[in-house]
Amino acid sequence: MSAVKRITKELAEFSNNPVPGVSAGLASEGDVFKWNVILTGPQGSPYSGGVFTLNLTLPTEYPFKPPTLNFTTKIYHPNVSNDDKGSMCLGILRSESWKPSCKISQVLEMAAGLLKEPNVDDAVETSIADEFKNSPDSFEKTAREWTRKYAK
């Protein structure tokens, strides 16, 4: 049950030292493996003003295996899959590059960072990534529209 111990520790640490723009907590008391995360769209990005909810799921083998992040709010973003799962593609969340020393707060920090600055090289939605690269205006427009529509 070292996983529970570590997660509890991280949760306490996170609540003492929260990441700006991110609030997180257990989805239900007694289950430390499921977290609810709320990201607020950063100022200056097409997502500003939006509130995005995510599910953070920790494997029982945590910290040896990486957690997974899923957007429950629909979002127009190159690094978030545009389906029911809304899984977020983060380099550090890949099992081969995951390190146990990586903490949940860092993961959330990176997730918040991705909203500010999408990572085109690591995109899951290649069409959105292309749009982001080639016609940033139309991308921004759609992203804003989706934020207004789904993330209010």
Binding site: S2, E61, P63, E96, P100, S101, D122
Partner: protein, 589 residues
């Protein structure tokens, strides 16, 4: 029961001087124009009355004769059987193979003839039909069970009676047989025997059709080919496995790079990894909490090159180590590496009393230090001589050794390993002079209770740098043919890409995309398929135990991220026939 197909009667000459072997009656046949020959092959002319032989295909050969009967026996009918007929007495030897010949008169007479023939060396018995006034039955075997071993045949009377007459012509000596004068004129000795020789050919009544036999032969040949090639392939695979095992043992093959499933660290290796009490550089002063995050992320290989580190850990005196009950064996390579890194590998002499006597010369100090620190680390003389120039000049090291109570000496800048102030797994801080830590060969340190179960059951890789913790040359897995194939393929692909790289470098970047050849593309595809296959099987194996320790290095063969994702989902179940094929013909695919 095998039926007769052919009766062949001819006259042969047995020289009087010869002593032929009983079974072997190959004597010259008399010229037909001077003698007699008869072939009966029309099925209407004969019958097979009895035959024990079930296989068929035999031939019965022998000299034709009429068995003797008691002279008073009424069966000895001289109307039918001429007086000068060939009897046993007229044959040259006793032990020749014979074929008995007799008319079918009554059942009693048939019996008499057959009992008589039983005493002779007969191969077969031929009855022939006689006119009705002499005979009252046609079946010599009617009634009782037939007690004889030889087969019995029946010839039509129209052929049988003339043959009987002919037989009477070949009973006497050479001059008296039919055409005897001409025969003796032709040079045959008068004492030679000219006798009728009979060959009865038979066939099986239910012979195997030729097509079936042919198919059977084809199947047998195919089976043989399959068996032989299977054996050959097994031999080759055995050879390849042995060679791979040897190369792994020599450390030429990187097992993790092969991507062959979960490799764990056995307990006995784990026990050899150093275990010691953590000592902070600043001598147990409270660790600044703000450094933690920085440390946990800065666990890269470049870390040890930093000069300005503030915290160090040092190996505690041997007494402590012994208390932990761990034997410490550090491979020479690591020690060497440490020495080249470490500038001031000096030990507090109060902690290592054995070193006091030898500290006069820096080089000796170095030796004793290494002994005191690492307990029988197998350093070679070359290592020492290489490291000794790096040891600080006596003027600097001596004061340090002397000043045992100074802060620098109590926590010497023992440059080894990385800045780790907390366990990356549980994130708890290491406590100065209190926490026992496990050091992996890559020099990362952890709580033993955190890292040991993971290495023992999940992976052989360090969780931070993904470097293998297994000693070189250790073969932790069963080498299967699939692994052998994979290794060969990987090797060829690597060689190929090296060649291509060299070629493009030489051509100053010609067209490197067109890496030539269908074979090359085929190899790559095969490699990909194999990886999928292996992964699929692993996924299956893992399904029961939880999906953990996912393969450290992403396959060893960079195949793109989307591909890597795929393998987790991939659920390859190999069809049974392919498993069987693989077992019979290892090395295919």
């Amino acid at each position: 029961m095998s039926a007769a197909t052919n009766f062949n009667f001819s006259v042969i000459v047995i020289p009087s001087a010869a002593r032929p072997v009983a079974a072997n009656l190959d004597f010259p046949t008399l010229n037909q124009s001077l003698s007699f020959a008869l072939e009966v092959s029309s099925p209407s002319d004969f019958q097979t009355l009895y035959s024990q032989d079930s296989k068929g295909g035999n031939t019965f050969k022998g000299l034709l004769y009429v068995p003797d009967l008691d002279p008073s026996d009424p069966c000895d009918n001289h109307d039918l059987v001429p007086r000068n007929i060939t009897r046993k007495a007229n044959l040259p030897m006793d032990d020749l193979k014979l074929i008995a010949y007799a008319p079918l008169i009554t059942q009693h007479c048939s019996r008499q003839y057959m009992y008589s023939a039983e005493n002779d060396n007969v191969a077969a018995f031929i009855f022939y039909g006689v006119p009705a006034k002499y005979s009252n039955h046609t079946d010599p075997l009617q009634g009782e069970e037939y007690p004889f071993e030889y087969p019995v045949y029946f010839l039509d009377g129209a052929i049988g009676q003339p043959l009987m007459n002919k037989l009477s012509e070949y009973s006497a000596n050479m001059s008296e047989v039919y055409n005897g004068f001409n025969l003796t004129e032709a040079g045959y000795d008068i004492r030679d025997y000219a006798r009728i020789y009979t060959v009865i050919s038979t066939r099986n009544t239910n012979p195997m059709p030729g097509l079936w036999l042919f198919l059977l032969v084809v199947v047998a040949v195919l089976l043989f080919i399959i068996g032989a090639s299977s054996l050959l392939m097994h031999l080759f695979q055995f050879h390849y496995r042995r060679s791979l095992r040897r190369r792994i043992a020599n450390g030429e093959v990187d097992l993790e790079g092969l991507g062959v499933g979960r490799i764990t660290v056995p307990r006995e290796f784990l026990a050899k990894f150093p275990l010691y009490v953590y000592i902070a550089e600043n001598g147990g002063q409270s660790t600044p909490p703000k450094r933690k995050a920085q440390n946990s992320t800065a666990a890269t290989r470049s870390a040890p090159k930093e000069e300005g580190r503030r915290k160090e850990k040092v190996r505690v005196p041997s007494a402590v180590v012994v208390k932990e009950g761990v034997s410490i064996m550090i491979p020479a390579t690591i020690t060497t590496e440490r020495k080249s890194k470490g500038k001031e590998r000096v030990k507090d002499k109060s902690k290592s009393p054995t070193a006091i006597d030898t500290t006069t010369s820096p080089e000796m100090a170095e030796v004793s230090t290494s002994k005191g620190l690492t307990l029988a680390s197998p350093t070679t003389p070359s290592t020492k001589s290489r490291s000794s120039p790096r040891v600080q000049s006596p003027s600097t090291s001596s004061p340090q050794l002397g000043g045992a109570q100074t802060p620098t000496a109590s926590s010497p800048p023992h440059h080894r390993g990385y800045h780790q102030t907390s366990c990356p797994i549980c994130l708890d801080d290491f406590i100065h002079q209190e926490t026992t830590v496990r050091e992996l060969p890559c020099l990362h340190i952890f709580h033993p209770e955190c890292i040991d179960p993971y290495l023992e059951s999940q992976s052989s890789l360090c969780v931070l740098c993904k470097q293998s913790c297994l000693p070189k040359g250790y073969v932790p897995i069963r080498l299967t043919n699939a692994i052998v194939r994979r290794e060969r393929l990987l090797r060829s692909v690597r060689e190929r890409s090296r060649e291509v790289a060299a070629a493009t470098a030489a051509n100053n970047g010609g067209n490197s995309n067109d890496e030539g050849g269908i074979l090359w593309r085929w190899r790559l595809r095969r490699l990909r398929r194999q990886e999928l296959d292996l992964m699929g099987r692993q996924a299956l194996v893992r399904a029961g135990r939880g999906n953990y320790g996912e393969r450290g290095r992403g396959g060893g063969f960079g195949l793109g991220p989307q591909y890597r994702e795929q393998r987790v989902v991939e659920d390859v179940v190999r069809p049974r026939w392919r498993e069987t094929m693989d077992r019979i013909f290892p090395g295919f695919r």
